[in-house]
Subunit: 156 residues, 2 copies
């Protein structure tokens, strides 16, 4: 899938497709397949990214924080949509709450469910999409890499 900053992604499905493409990119690099992307009020892509724990040894770069970094400095996130392939963990849910990100699209809350209800209680509009292909990719990855997965979510 081709995508670039500034390109318009009009629908929720189109936005989630960017996060899914990032997840697949991460997997192709030997990483954990979680991706995310941020869009402005018009659906223009601000930035996207994927988990970089394996590739860069960077424990701080979850899919969501990677996309947030790549979107650069923004003055407000009130009208921003964050699409993420997997339900945001507490770390990434805290990001959403602190920066008052307006809308969240969740590609999969079957394999993992983080703080999506909590951010919704604090004013974020949450849509759970549960894409079957994405759920299979993440589920297969967790089964094949349980230690790595537990490390990424801080489970002993």
């Amino acid at each position: 899938m081709e995508f670039k900053v500034g390109q318009i992604f009009a629908t929720d499905e189109e936005k989630l497709a960017v996060a899914i493409a990032e997840a697949h990119l991460g997997l192709s690099e030997g990483g954990i397949p979680i991706g995310a992307a941020l869009f402005d009020k018009d659906g223009a892509l601000l930035g996207s990214g994927h988990n970089l724990r394996v590739q860069q040894g960077d424990a701080s770069m979850h899919g969501e924080t990677s996309a947030f970094r790549n979107a650069g400095r923004q003055r407000s996130y009130k009208h921003v949509t964050l699409a993420t392939s997997l339900s945001p963990c507490w770390y990434c849910s805290g990001l959403i709450r602190q920066f008052n990100i307006g809308k969240l699209l969740v590609g999969d809350d079957i394999n993992f469910k983080g703080g999506q209800d909590w951010v919704q209680e604090h004013g974020c509009e949450v849509t759970v999409m549960n894409d079957p292909g994405l759920i299979k990719v993440m589920g297969d990855f967790i089964i094949a890499n349980p230690t790595l997965w537990n490390e990424d979510i801080g489970e002993d």
Copy 2:
């Protein structure tokens, strides 16, 4: 102040001093003066860092996340101490909760108070130190740079 990875910082005051040194380093670079550091169960420095919004245009690098990144991949944070110059925002509080960081030292909860009570409720041992010199540095910075400060905590 000189400090290096692996060096032992035995007391809470010594640990906080590393976070304060990182805050001053950030200020000297023209950045937001917030720093943090992680220590293992023996007090050995795992990594430290400071806010990089201005210096690298990186909105994802708060003091705490910068220190977390610089500490590298860790299998467990149960016995880790995070010292931070300023009370952790929701983003950084989410990091603490997700990775079950065992102990938090807060250098200043006067200028800003984030999710420190919330992480305490979820099992993190929190010590508020309120260092007068640090409180003055951060307070002066916020007065002099209100727009930049509000951007960093996602306030409109």
